[in-house]
């Protein structure tokens, strides 16, 4: 009797297990996917486009280690969020005290502010491209940026963000156009494959900056805070951890496949013809194999969606993180006088994010690119803080990092610091350029 029962039970559980697992996965999935799509924001599109157009397929190999690093770093945040039930800013404050928290938060604020500038620059750039085809007022750069700032603020502060989130996500399907474009452009596939698996390196200032930028735009510091908070808010339990991990892996693959094809498309169209990309209109040409004369419009739509999506999430996430760290009242359910620092920060980021873009003659692509380089330079601060937390047995119990994860995370941080140092040396002493 017992033996029969024992045999029967597991198989019954397994059948239920599969269904239940699928349902659980679908209900938990989200943070990884959303973060992945926001990852391809204005900064991403611009940086990958420049990488492809200026260096051809030379950066394709980098995407493989970067994807691995992205998965590792994000998984660490997800694991911390699920096991401790607290956000990253919260943990940093609790474990490291006020001084270190200040340092990390200032770094975060700087990179997030620059990235917000990049998003508004993305709005402006897409407006420029649309303006070229439709010279009407609403596509004037200045109107578009101000409208975007107001739209995003209202969306978030009125609390309607959740309903619009789905629209943003759906619109991210536009990125598929890069994949198709890349294939249609008929690049020299043997070369592409070769550049994907064989690393190359260069000591020039431009190359090093791009190196840092690619990493900085893919593994953005703000993403770590955002994904940990998302997972905490969702209330994911330790036994559901593997679903969140799967969510992260899938999301990271999606984001980097898109990045890959942006580089391929730009490499195959722009680099081949030695087109030096200085504005978004030229970057749009990468979509010509697919869209012909509509390449510009397609590109602009994708860029606009990406920029608005990120601009809705980023400033709010930053305000939450900072208030969480210092114990200031926060939350959009509170009225302005009850949470002055929270709202002040939020509006400040929006205003100071939009202002630089509104100055006449602002070089948009340059701004966007360099914001991502700054992100890359400050990323080690966040990674190292995370490593100290995720290896703390008192916090994480048996869920501390495995040696492999530690190795990958440390390698990423150290690598970035090394390349940053190298870049500064090369640039200051004008070596080899």
């Amino acid at each position: 009797m017992e033996a029969v029962e024992r045999i029967e039970k597991p198989s019954r559980l397994k059948r239920v297990g599969l269904w239940r697992s699928l349902l659980m996965f679908l209900s938990i999935v989200g943070p990884g996917m959303i973060t992945a799509n926001i990852d391809n924001d204005a900064g991403g599109i611009a940086t990958y486009s420049l990488a492809g157009s200026q260096f051809g397929f030379a950066f394709l190999w980098l995407l493989i280690p970067v994807t691995i690093a992205l998965i590792v770093v994000q998984e660490m945040c997800v694991r911390m969020g699920v096991i401790t039930g607290k956000g990253l800013a919260d943990l940093i404050r609790e474990q490291f005290g006020v001084r270190i928290t200040l340092f990390v938060m200032v770094s975060l604020l700087v990179t997030n502010l620059f990235t917000t500038v990049a998003e508004f620059a993305g709005v402006a750039a897409s407006a420029d491209v649309l303006h070229a085809s439709f010279p009407i007022f609403i596509f004037s750069r200045y109107f578009a940026v101000m409208a975007a700032a107001i739209f995003v603020s209202l969306l978030v502060l009125r609390g309607n963000y959740k309903s619009v989130e789905k629209v943003f996500l759906l619109a991210c399907l536009v990125y598929v156009t890069y994949i198709i474009s890349g294939l249609l452009a008929k690049p020299d596939w043997p070369v592409v494959i070769h550049q994907t698996v064989v690393p190359t390196f260069s000591w020039t200032s431009a190359y090093l900056a791009m190196f840092i930028g690619v990493i900085g735009t893919t593994i953005a510091p703000w993403m770590q805070f955002y994904i940990q908070s998302s997972v905490v808010e969702k209330g994911v339990k330790p036994r559901e951890l593997r679903f969140s991990q799967a969510d992260v892996v899938v999301g990271s693959f999606i984001t980097d496949i898109v990045a890959y094809f942006i580089i391929v498309a730009c490499g195959a169209t722009l680099f081949i013809h030695h087109i030096n990309v200085t504005d978004a209109g030229q970057a749009a040409l990468a979509l010509e194999p697919l869209a012909g004369k509509y390449a510009g419009i397609l590109f602009a739509i994708g860029l606009l969606n990406a920029s608005l999506f990120a601009a809705s999430v980023l400033p709010l996430s930053t305000s939450y993180s900072v208030c969480e760290a210092f114990g200031f009242a926060s939350g959009i359910d509170k009225r302005f006088p009850d949470a002055p620092i929270f709202y002040g920060l939020y509006l400040g980021i929006i205003v100071f994010g939009a202002l630089p873009v509104l100055t006449p003659g602002a070089p948009l692509l340059t701004i966007i690119f360099w914001s991502q380089v700054v992100s890359g330079m400050l990323l080690p601060v966040v990674i190292i803080s995370m490593l100290r937390l995720v290896n703390n047995r008192r916090l994480m119990g048996e869920h501390v990092n495995s040696p492999t994860f530690n190795l990958i995370a440390w390698a990423t941080a150290v690598g970035l610091i090394a390349v940053t140092a190298l870049y500064l040396v090369v640039t200051i002493y004008h070596i080899g350029s």
Partner: protein, 444 residues
């Protein structure tokens, strides 16, 4: 013993000197401060000193000669780790309090400790306040004078104050990952908070802190607070609680609320909790769980007032007085025969109006409107609406009384989700009584 006011952040790292005779020698720095956490204003019981050799040792309070702005002086060397006594309620200021979240009982919110203020009182140095505002942050950053200037300009108490008195502070129980409670701090301060405010505090906490706070409250308060929380939070907390604790708390909820809650969690956990509940309570809940949610059986409560036949009004009141504590609704009283068939129903109003000597049978209504266990909820609703009832009795196929469906439960069913959450609760006499006691206690 020479003591003076100090902030915990300033004491950390302060040099420690040993006084032997007239000789002073520097032996290390303060690593942490241990206080007796269970007292109202916790006194310092000892200091952890990091010696020049890097080893941390314990100096009991009795060995402290003086604490000045520049150094701490001891008259005996600190003890090695193995010899140091550790009290069960020992709270470490640096490691366990600074930068952590606590509940501000008077302000009804969750705040973060930026600093802790200590002051001499009698022969002791006691924790008297937590600094939760900007001055505290500035002090931690080394900008002490700026912080002090700011502090002098801020209100001393109430909204906007930077310092909150320690007896309004509730540290959260400290947990190891995996849920073992390392330190259970007495929760008497929390009991002063109205359950609805408690619920909003709980919602601000991280998920692990939520369960630990609910778990350390007394069962009645925990049940009250749990009832006020949204379903998702309730489920999340229940999952994190130990089944024993969960059972204790759920026993204190009304059976229909308990059934609603338990109905949502998966059956393994449900069973675990039911098994640990008091048999009678568990039986009631199981009974309710056995009926589908959308029927009268799934909505009803088993805690109603009833009387045996043949009583006078005065005897009826005696009976009611004893049973009223546990009843969900006191407005209708049902007269039942020994087989639990309904002979009649009488309202409280009628009982109050009648003479004490009158017979209940004379004033009760014997044509009683009932619904059956499997009656769909929409029909229950129309019945209640049609007759303007506050509650309708539920009978089984043989006409025996099983329970009552109260009007608030049926309204919950009919209104759209969003509106439902905004409604106050009616007829939950148990909670209401407790809430009334809370109000009475807080005005004392």
């Amino acid at each position: 013993m020479e003591l003076r006011e100090a902030f915990a952040s300033e004491l950390s790292g302060r040099p420690v000197e040993l006084l032997t005779g007239t000789q002073r020698s520097r032996i290390g720095r303060i690593d942490d401060i241990a206080v007796a956490g269970s007292e109202r204003f916790p006194p310092v019981v000892g200091l952890y000193v990091k010696g020049n050799d890097g080893v941390v040792r314990y100096a009991p309070f009795s060995t402290i000669v003086s604490i000045t702005d520049r150094e701490v002086t001891l008259n005996a060397p600190p003890l090695e780790g193995s010899n140091a006594p550790v009290a069960i309620d020992e709270l470490l200021l640096q490691k366990e309090l600074l930068d952590k979240q606590i509940v501000d009982v008077d302000g009804h919110k969750v705040v973060r400790v930026n600093d802790v203020k200590l002051a001499p009182a009698g022969d002791h140095l006691r924790v008297i306040a937590a600094d939760i505002g900007l001055p505290g942050l500035l002090r931690r950053l080394g900008l002490r004078h700026l912080g002090d200037r700011m502090l002098s300009r801020m209100p001393k108490v109430g909204v906007g104050a930077s310092l909150i008195s320690w007896d309004a502070v509730q540290p959260l129980g400290l947990e190891e990952p995996g849920g073992a409670l390392r330190l259970r701090v007495p929760q008497d301060k929390i009991d002063r908070i109205h359950p609805a405010d408690l619920a909003s505090i709980i919602e601000e906490l991280s998920t692990s802190d939520q369960a630990s706070l609910i778990g350390s409250l007394d069962e009645e308060t925990a049940a009250d607070a749990l009832e006020q929380l949204p379903v998702d939070t309730q489920l999340s907390i229940l999952e994190d609680l130990h089944p024993d604790r969960a059972a204790d708390i759920i026993e204190n909820m009304t059976p229909d609320d308990a059934a609603d809650l338990l109905g949502e969690i998966d059956s393994d956990k449900q069973q675990e909790i039911l098994e640990r509940m008091e048999p009678q309570e568990a039986q009631d809940v199981r009974e309710l769980l056995s009926h589908p949610e959308e029927t009268a059986g799934g909505l009803m409560t088993t805690e109603y007032l009833w009387l045996p036949p043949g009583l006078t009004v005065a005897e009826a009141f005696e009976h009611i007085r004893k049973a009223a504590e546990d009843a969900e609704l006191v407005y209708y009283v049902y007269v039942l025969d020994p087989q639990e068939h309904i002979l009649g129903v009488v309202s409280l109003r009628e009982l109050i109006k009648a003479e004490p000597g009158a017979k209940v049978a004379d004033i009760a209504i014997d044509d009683v409107v009932t619904v059956e266990l499997q009656t769909p909820r929409e029909e229950v609703a129309t019945t209640i609406a049609r007759y303007d009832f506050v509650a309708v009795p539920v009978v089984d196929a043989d006409g025996r009384m099983q329970g009552i469906v109260t009007v608030d439960d049926i309204i919950d069913v009919l209104l759209p989700e969003k509106m439902r959450k905004m409604l106050p609760r009616v007829g939950k006499s148990r909670s209401k009584a407790r809430l009334a006691r809370h109000d009475a206690r807080s005005t004392q």
